[in-house]
Each structure stands twice: as C-alpha cells, then as structure tokens.
C-alpha cells in the first residue's frame, strides 16, 4: 500500500486531533431532554423490569463512539489516496493527439468531424483500464495539452470539452515529439492519433520523428473530401494610383466531379464583382482581377457552389485581404521649376504639394508643418521631423558631402546604373532603372550608416540614409541631364521615396496565414498591443522589436490596436493539405503503420479512496436508516 495523497504523518495528526475531539464530546455528560410526564412510577414499573436493556443502553454509547471513529478513519484514509503498491505502474500510459486542424471542421459527418473525434475520444476514455493513464492533447499547428497524464475519467471528459479545431494545419511531427516526451520512461506507452490523417510526413529540423518504443494507434475520422477552396489570395494597391488595386486569387478543386462555383469579391463588405468558375476534378485556376476600386480597408473573396449546396470544408471558402492605409502627406517642393517633378507628384492624389522658391524655402519650413521636403538642386536647413528627397543637392545644407566637380560621361556615351538594391523601398516595383542614361553626376560620399541604393561606374547614383530619425534620399544627378524622367522608374522613385518617408511599410502583407506567427509593425514606443479576433475574442499580444507578435489560428479579419493606432489584419488558411480534406484510412510513421486503438483491461479500480468514501457513506446510510426505523433510538 502506498499513499499518493496526504502523507501518513499528516493523516495521523488529523485523525488524532479530530478523534480526540470526538472522544471528548462523548466523555461529556449527555444532557438529556427533559420530558414532563404525569406519573413517573408507572414508567418505573417498565424500566425496572429490563436490566438487559440497560446494559445495551450503556454499550450503545460505546458502539456509537466506535462508529464515529470508524467514519473518521475512513474519511481521513481517503485523504491519503491510498493505492495498492505497484498498481499505478502496471497500467498503460496513453497520449491521445486530437487532430485540431482546419480539416476537422469538415461537415461530411453528422455534427461534423469534431463531434466524431470527441465521441471517439470518449470511447477511448471509457475503455480505459483501471490502472491506465491518459493525456489528451489538441494537435493543430501547435500542440496543446488539455489535461495532465491522469487516470481520472471525469477530468479527461472535462478536458475533452476544451477540444475545438482551429483554422490551421496539423503538425504531426510536433505532436509526436510532444507525445514521446510525455511518454518517456512510462510503462506500456501508446500514442493514439484521432483525426482525418491528412498530415505531412512527421519530419522536422531534427529529422524523422521516431516513437521511441511507443505503440502508434490511429482512429480515422471522416467520410469523404468533396471540397473546393481558395488556396491563395492577395490584394495590392497600384503604386502609381493608390486609389485602385488588383487582386490575385487561386481556386482549387479536390472534388471527384466537375464543380461550378460562384466567385464573389467584396470590398469593405460590399460585393463588387461576381464571376463563375468551372473546375474539373483536381483542377486549379488562377485569377487576377485588375483595376479594382471601392475598397478602403479590406477585400474578401468568397466561393460558393452554383447549386446552392456547400462543400465539405467551409473554412477555405472565404479569403481576406487588407489594403494599406492611405493618409494625406504634405510635400514641400523647393525648385526653380521642374516639370518632371511636378508631373510625378501629380500621380498620387493623396499628396498635398506646395511649391516654393529656394529663397522662401527656409521660412516655409519654419512656418508650416510638412512631412516631406523635396529639394531640386538647392539646399536649405530642414527642421526635425521632415524627411527629405534631394535631387543633386548643392550647398551647405546638403545631407552628404561630395567631391568637387562632376563625374562626366565619356564622350559619345552616358553614365548608367550598373547595380541597384532591388529590395530597398526606394526601388520597389522598378524594372527599368538600369536602362537609365545620365550625362554627369556629383560624387557624394555616404556616411557610415548610409546606403547606396543604386550605383554606376562613376559612383553612387541613388543614396539613402537617416539623420536623427528623419529619412533622406539623394539623387546624384539632375534629372534634366538624363533620360530618367522618360522611364517608369522616375515617378516610382518619387512615390516610393514619399511612401518610405511617410512610414508605409514596404513589406506590407495583405494577409497572413493561420498557423504561423505574425509579426506586425506597430508605432514606436508601444510595448503592448491588442488583437480582436473575428470571433470577438480580445487578446493582449506582446511587442518585440517594434512588432506585435501573435500566433494566428482564426481565418477572417482581425483588428489590431497598438497605442493610438489600429488597423485590420487579414488571415487565411491557404493550406492545400487542409483543403484536401479527404480522410486517410492509414497512418504511417517511420515506416510503421498505426493500428487500431485497443481498450484497457477491465478490473477493479485501484483508487481506494473511492471505496473508503463509499464505506463511510454506507455507515452514514445505515445509521440514518436505523435511526428513522427506530432501531437505535
């Protein structure tokens, strides 16, 4: 016998203390209730004639005390949770991995696959042997233990109530790693996977997952996988016309028959486009929907069968995308006159452009608030908080020192851009920068933290940097002395520079994938953010290195609040393995095929506390029964 609950010394102390109190109460003289009767001598005739009964009366108090002490001993014993020695070591140790991926939301079974998985798990719980212990874990993109390794069916059933599939894939490798860690050094270990079997091979950075001696069982869930899903969706604003945008959409069929679906595009919740798509079995179609307008924040794509019925997996029938926020930017253009610059600035209707002569530039900058200042061959002192684009700056206030004179192109030829950083925000979307021809350039000397974005044989052509938190870009030549304005790269440079200055994230994502960790930029100084999920839950998420970090598990539009700002985040499943929700009947890990789960061996429960409490209950019941039957009174 061993005690898994309170130790023996504590049990003895409890029994001693409470038992002493009980005995003291019995030693105290019982104060009897006084009952007036008219003539006691008549009672005396009866009482004096029963000496045996008086002996029983005396013994009855002793028996009553013994019953109370027995009752106390049973209850104190239950607190110790006594077990038969070695009983806990003979049972199986089971880890049940409940598939919590998006494919378990399929509706091919009555009540859904999740309900079938719950019922299967419940059967496993009820089939536990008396010494078996089980741990339930939900396996989606992460593995979440729903309870500790326990032999308490009630606790397991409570934990099972927390199982809820999410809009993510299933990471079988992570699930098996978790299970083998839990089952290490446990006797008779088993891993039971309850799910539809649609998993990637269990392999991770450490290689193939091995079960380390644990038996693998598989309980397949699901009936069929007739599904059409959106496997990719993205939207973006046109760089040179940010009021318009385009959407890219990929739809794939996993059905065994030709499917005709209606594709609806919604902008900020309002339908803007409806088309019909016919998909052969297993076919994929990619659609680019150009020149769209009408959306300010979000775009949603929906597919639905033409016949009005739903496919087996609704989770991938919708996809969401968000568009970057647009805000007005005040730009001061300091120039003696530059038509190319003026034309480029006209491309973005969200720019408030003010032109100023070089002589009045300093005064305007002091008097008014500008986000960006563009200096065309001139310089002027700029206040803190104003980003600057310099077109071949000359003067004392130039951000970069330069060598005197110009670097000229050889006679009969031109200077060109030989290399440029394609990942820099200034060169985003540029394709023809290298075709630019320049007559002469000024050789600027970049600082140690400045970057050369584009360069030619004669020296840096485009430079970028940061001064006290204010970004700047320098064009080393005069656009009038080049064919740069004739290329798309010129207005893109102006627009990219302003976007970069104004804080637009060049790495902006129109949507995130569920089952991954999202890192969302937040304003400087914010150390905590809040995300409201599509289901209405509000989660506080940490901020690391200027980015809010969140593990997304829900498809739909999320709202991020960070400091004074808020923005929408779109999340999509985009997991073909989940969309391919046809159930698998077998599961193979490391070459070994999983077998069906087996029930535990029937037998007596080894938890003796329950029997002790039953004994106490029986004593109380007998006492109650004899009292009310007037046997003991």
């Amino acid at each position: 016998m061993e005690l898994l609950g309170l130790p023996l010394s504590t049990l003895a102390a409890v029994f001693g203390g409470v038992g002493a109190g009980l005995v003291a109460l019995y030693l105290l003289k019982l104060r009897r209730r006084r009952v007036p009767v008219p003539f006691v001598p008549l009672w005396a005739r009866v009482l004096d004639a029963r000496p045996a009964a008086r002996l029983f009366d005396r013994l009855k108090r002793l028996v009553s005390l013994l019953v109370q002490l027995t009752l106390l001993a049973l209850m104190v014993g239950a607190l110790g949770d006594p077990r038969l020695r070695g009983a806990s070591a003979r049972g199986r140790a089971l880890v049940v991995l409940l598939d919590g991926s998006a494919s378990m939301k399929a509706t091919d079974l009555p009540g859904g696959r999740a309900r079938a998985a719950r019922e299967a798990a419940l059967r496993l719980i009820r089939g536990l042997g008396p010494a078996d212990r089980m741990l339930l874990a939900q396996m989606d993109a992460q593995v979440t233990a729903l309870c500790p390794l326990t032999d308490d069916p009630a606790e397991l059933e409570r934990a099972l109530g927390e199982y809820a599939p999410r809009d993510t894939g299933a990471d079988l490798a992570q699930g098996l790693r978790f299970a083998t860690d839990v089952l290490r050094d446990q006797p008779d270990p088993e891993v039971i996977v309850v799910g539809d079997g649609a998993y990637d091979p269990p392999r991770d950075a450490r290689g193939d997952v091995r079960l380390s001696g644990a038996a693998l069982r598989f309980e397949p869930i699901g009936r069929r996988g007739r599904n059409v899903g959106i496997t990719a969706f993205a939207v973006r604003r046109y760089p040179l016309d940010k009021s318009r945008y385009e959407a890219m959409l990929e739809v794939r069929s996993w059905s065994d028959q030709t499917e005709r679906v209606e594709l609806t595009l919604l902008a900020d919740g309002a339908p803007i486009d409806v088309t019909h798509v016919t998909l052969a079995p297993g076919a994929t179609t990619l659609r680019v929907l150009p020149d769209l307008s009408g959306a300010n924040e979000s775009v949603e794509a929906r597919i639905a069968r033409d016949d009005g019925t739903r496919d087996d997996l609704p989770a991938d029938d919708r996809a969401f995308g968000t568009l970057p926020e647009r805000r007005r930017v005040r730009v001061l253009a300091v120039t003696e006159g530059n038509r190319y610059l003026e034309a480029a600035l006209l491309l973005d209707e969200y720019l408030d452009v003010v032109e100023a002569r070089p002589a009045e530039a300093a005064a305007r900058l002091r008097a008014e608030r500008f986000d960006v200042a563009i200096f065309d061959r001139v310089t002027a002192p700029t206040p803190q908080g104003v980003a600057t684009l310099w077109l071949r700056p000359e003067g004392a206030d130039s951000p970069l020192p330069h060598e005197p004179g110009f670097a000229l192109a050889p006679p009969g030829s031109a200077l060109g851009v030989s290399t440029f950083d394609r990942r820099h925000p200034l060169t985003r979307f540029m394709t023809d920068l290298e075709e630019t021809h320049v007559g002469r350039i000024v050789r600027y000397r970049p600082g140690p933290r400045d970057r050369i974005v584009a360069a030619g044989a004669a020296g840096p052509m485009i430079l970028a940097g940061d001064r006290g938190g204010d970004r700047f870009a320098v064009l080393a030549f005069d656009v009038r002395e080049s064919d740069f304005p004739l290329r798309v790269a010129w207005p893109l440079l102006v627009v990219n520079a302003i976007d970069w200055f104004a804080g637009e994230d060049p790495a902006y994502l129109s949507s995130f994938r569920t089952g991954t960790t999202w890192r969302i930029p937040v304003p400087a100084g914010v150390d905590r953010a809040e995300i409201e999920t599509p289901s209405g839950h509000r989660l506080t998420v940490p901020v690391y290195e200027g980015r809010a970090v969140h593990f997304g598990t829900e498809v739909g539009l999320h709202r991020l609040r960070a400091g004074e700002t808020q923005r929408l985040l779109a999340a999509n499943l985009h997991e073909p393995r989940e969309s391919d929700c046809a159930p698998r009947r077998t599961l193979t890990v490391s070459g070994a095929q999983a077998t069906a789960p087996r029930p535990g061996r029937a037998g007596l429960r080894r938890e003796l506390w329950a029997y002790l409490l039953l004994g106490a209950l029986a004593i109380v019941w007998i006492e109650w029964w004899t009292y009310h039957r007037r046997v003991t009174v």
Binding site: R32, V40, L42, W43
Partner: protein, 309 residues
C-alpha cells in the same frame, strides 16, 4: 418575520379560561342531564332515601323506647296507657341525600391539552347539578395532598352558579395524597353520604389507600377516573429524562419503540387494575377520557349505580 423563525418553538396556546368552561352550551347540556336523571329519582331513588325518625312525618312506621331528650309530643300515650311502656312513635320521613364531589386538584391533572383538569371540572359540575336539581345537599371539596378548598353543602338548582364559581377558582398544583385528604374530609363532614371522587388516581401512595379511606369512614364512594389516552404514548424518542410533573422525580431513559409498547401495556394494565379494584368492592366506577362527552360519562356512572336504565 425572521428567516430563522421556523426554528423557534410555536408559542404555547393560552390555557382554557374558566369563563369558557361553563358556557351557555354547557349549561344546556347540564339541564338535559338533570331531566334525564330526574325520571329515575322520581320512581326509585326517593324510597331508598326514606328514614325512620320521630317527628312530623305523615306515615307511621314503628315504635321505639323513649329516650331522654325525645320530644314528649311523640310519646304514644295510648300504648303507655295500655302497657305502661313509654314508647315514642316513629314516622317515615323523606331525607335529602348528601353528595360530596371530591375534585382532584393535583399537578398531574393539568397534563395534556385539553387538560384532564378541565374535563374533571365539567364532570364535577355535572354531578353537582344532578344533585342540586334533585334537591340533594351537594358539597364540593378540592384536594391534592390535603383538602385545599371546600364549598359548603348547598341545595337547590340555583346554587349551581356557586358551584361554577368554586370550580373556576380551583387550580391544579401539588402532589396527590387521597388518603390524607379523605381523612380530613371525613373529619369535617359528619353527615355521611355519597363521595364522588373525580381524579386521575395518580397517587404515589396507591389509589387503593385513598378509596379505602373513604369507605372506612362510611361514605359511599363513587369513582370517576379521568383519563387521557395520549398519556400512554410519548412523542419523544431517544435519550430523554422523564420528569414527574407532581414530584419532580426524574428518570433517565432511552425511549425506543419496544419500551413504548411495554409502557402502553403497563398503562392499560394499571387502568384495568383500578377498575377491577372498584368492581371487587362494589364501588361504582367509570373511566372518563378527556376526549369523551362528559354527560355520557355521567349517565354511564348513574347507570352503574342503578339510578338510570
């Protein structure tokens, strides 16, 4: 009303007021009882109450020797002239009956609700009214361990209100000692007659001693045994202390169903013992349970003494 008021014991109802004891309905029932009993007295009882006395009777009965102090007017001069013997003439004269109602006022009579004492007072009033209505001399004696109060002999129906007044003033208290009270009663009442004992007979010295004491003083006892069937049962169970209401004597006892059954048997045996004692000594006896009608119980007693058929 407080939340825990249900835990409090309900207030005890007020004891029956004396004014309600002999209300108009009760008096009507007494009248009916008097009428029922008068038919009997008119036919039979009157003759049994004739006594031979020298004096002014109408019907000559016998002679006896003259004794000093006899009224010379009753001397039969003609017999004296013929025989020389001085004989006085005896005439039969109707004599009124002395009825003494001995009401037990011990503490045990207050037990129960309705109490035995109230029932006993109604029985005493009924017996008194029957006597008064038949022109008997009725006296009431309240007793416990001694004679506590007494109402002098009275005659005539209109004296019933004095009876009511006496009974209303009576209160149950103290122990029971019928023998002692009977001796005092006999000493105080030279005229013998019927002594109607209205009592529960819970006498620690034994009810036999008390009844015999009345008999030995040459009174004719009648026993109205006031009983309460509920006394044979006990609501309490378990370990209790039984306290005698009169003596305060306590007995610790564990009340079980088996003990209660034994007590019920003992109680019934004791009642049979009382009745058997009375029968063996030709003492009219009636057991009057508090739940019964007092007039029926009185008539039952009258039948026992042969006054009623």
């Amino acid at each position: 009303m407080g939340f825990f008021d249900f835990l409090r014991r309900p207030p005890k109802p007020a004891p029956d007021a004396g004014t309600e004891l002999f209300d108009e309905a009760f008096q009507r029932r007494l009248e009916w009882l008097a009428v029922a009993s008068r038919r009997v007295f008119a036919g039979r009882l009157r003759a049994e109450r004739r006594t031979r006395k020298s004096g002014a009777g109408l019907e000559f009965a016998d002679h006896r020797e003259y004794a000093r102090g006899d009224d010379l007017r009753t001397l039969d001069w003609s017999v004296y002239a013929r025989t020389g013997r001085a004989l006085v003439k005896l005439f039969e004269e109707e004599e009124d009956l002395a009825v003494y109602v001995l009401l037990d006022c011990s503490g045990s009579m207050a037990h129960g609700r309705p109490s035995k004492f109230d029932h006993a007072r109604r029985l005493a009033a009924a017996m008194a009214y029957v006597g008064l209505a038949n022109l008997d001399r009725v006296a009431l004696i309240a007793w416990s361990t001694r004679v506590a109060r007494r109402m002098p002999p009275a005659r005539g129906r209109n004296r019933i209100f004095k009876v009511f007044e006496f009974l209303r003033a009576a209160e149950p208290a103290g122990g029971t000692a019928l023998a002692d009270a009977a001796r005092t009663f006999a000493a105080e009442n030279k005229r013998r007659g019927v002594a109607v004992v209205v009592s529960d007979l819970y006498d620690p010295a034994g009810f036999e001693r008390g009844i015999n004491a009345i008999r030995y003083q040459r009174f004719e006892p009648m026993v109205i045994h006031v009983t309460d069937a509920r006394e044979a049962d006990l609501a309490a169970r378990g370990d209790v202390s039984l306290v005698d209401e009169e003596t305060g004597e306590a007995r610790d006892v564990t009340v079980t169903p088996e003990l209660l059954a034994r007590y019920r048997a003992a109680h019934a045996a004791w009642r049979e013992e009382v009745e058997a004692f009375c029968k063996s000594r030709r003492i009219p006896y009636v057991a009057a349970d508090v739940t019964g009608a007092f007039e029926d119980q009185v008539l039952h007693l009258l039948r026992r003494v042969g006054m009623l058929q």
